[in-house]
Assembly symmetry: C2
Homo-oligomer: 209 residues x 2
DNA sequence: AGGCTATTGTTAAAATAATAACAATGCAAA
DNA sequence: TTTGCATTGTTATTATTTTAACAATAGCCT
């Protein structure tokens, strides 16, 4: 497979969720338009994405749910578990840790970090919380490869530098402040306000029509 | 202005954040490459976006920070405040409410909804929490136009239907379950796992090289 | 069996988005 | 004043992503 578009990667992850739901319902096959409906995209796009990963469905029966789940897993999952840490265990950090609890994925949150002494040493739904000061030590000991940042804006830059220094390979930044990472570290930023303002923009323009 | 690309809308919102920061620092002008650096994009893209909204900077001095903030505001803000509600006041809901606290934007969170009697009637950083059963009444009374869903997956569909029924115009769905809305309601979905799996995919492929 | 239809797989076209290229020009320094 | 250069604004090009089009065919119905 030469190269999978970013967008396709993101959709594959979503397809899998839909497929797992179907599997749970006992469905063995699914049509492209059924997946499309769930994800609010077109059936063509689903077929095209599936084509890109080299899977082939059955004419008039659709795709084998289980096979497709496995294949998507082969592509987007790592062979081995990838350990993830969450830096900042405020509301958002807790939400993320809870969100992952009990989901079967190769991604596992194995550490949380905070500066609050009241939190350090405790656990959040099974995930131990460490002192941010020990971030490098813990990340290397546990071979953590991905860091999720949910700290307040003022600490973002400092924490990011610590993560990079500790040898982290990917960062998902939920803080409102953009960061810089050296080449070789994958960075994904997400800002809730941007999403909300986007919704608001379309609500507004629609109203004006 | 004929038509602004979705991506540009999203970036404008981010530019504004960067600009507000600069304004706070006392900067009166800013260069395209400075904005670009903050946002991890190219200066060309910044200039192009700014061109699209019809603003013109000063050669060798850059863009007037204050003017640009105002113009972006004119474009992406509503004239009037848009009221937003958050349905589900768990960790994520609380995180979002806190996140907005004290930010000056036309978007204001004016209601939270929950089913937990212990939460109903209380406030979260100033935002009153109502019973989900009263969702239609409150939304109409307060003229709330946008709903943010942070409820558990099982309740997603039901809550979504209630929001639509109450006349909401835009929905931002943070739950893991995709929803359907009728034409005329703008829907934006965000799934944290998708973001994280995307990061993991690139961490994985890079490792394999 | 034979025709009809729904569905896949794939190529082609269109739309969207990002990047490059470069003319214009105003400020700074000589 | 004049030269050089940094910076904008804009058009052109390229890359990416989505959508359309349609041939192929497996299964269903008669």
């Amino acid at each position: 497979m030469k190269h999978l578009p970013h967008k396709t990667i993101a959709r594959l992850s979503q397809y899998r969720r839909a497929l797992l739901l179907c599997l749970a319902k006992g469905k063995t096959h699914i049509f492209s338009h059924e997946i499309a409906k769930i994800q609010h995209i077109t059936a063509v796009q689903v077929r095209r994405d599936i084509m890109l990963i080299g899977y082939t469905g059955t004419l008039r029966k659709g795709y084998n749910v289980k096979e497709l789940i496995d294949l998507i897993g082969n592509i987007i999952d790592s062979e081995k578990r990838i350990d993830v840490c969450v830096v900042g265990t405020g509301n958002l950090g807790k939400a993320i840790i809870n969100y992952f609890k009990g989901r079967r994925t190769k991604l596992t949150i194995t550490a949380g970090f905070d500066i609050d002494p009241k939190k350090i040493g405790k656990k959040i739904t099974g995930v131990p919380i460490y002192n941010v000061a020990d971030i490098k030590k813990i990340i290397q000991e546990k071979n953590i490869r991905i860091g999720v940042m949910t700290v307040p804006g003022e600490q973002t830059t400092e924490i990011c530098d610590m993560l990079v220094d500790a040898g982290i390979k990917g960062i998902l930044n939920f803080t409102p402040k953009p960061v810089n990472v050296p080449h070789g570290v994958f960075l994904e930023e997400y800002d809730m306000i941007t999403s909300l303002e986007k919704v608001a923009f379309f609500v507004k323009t629609q109203n004006e029509l």
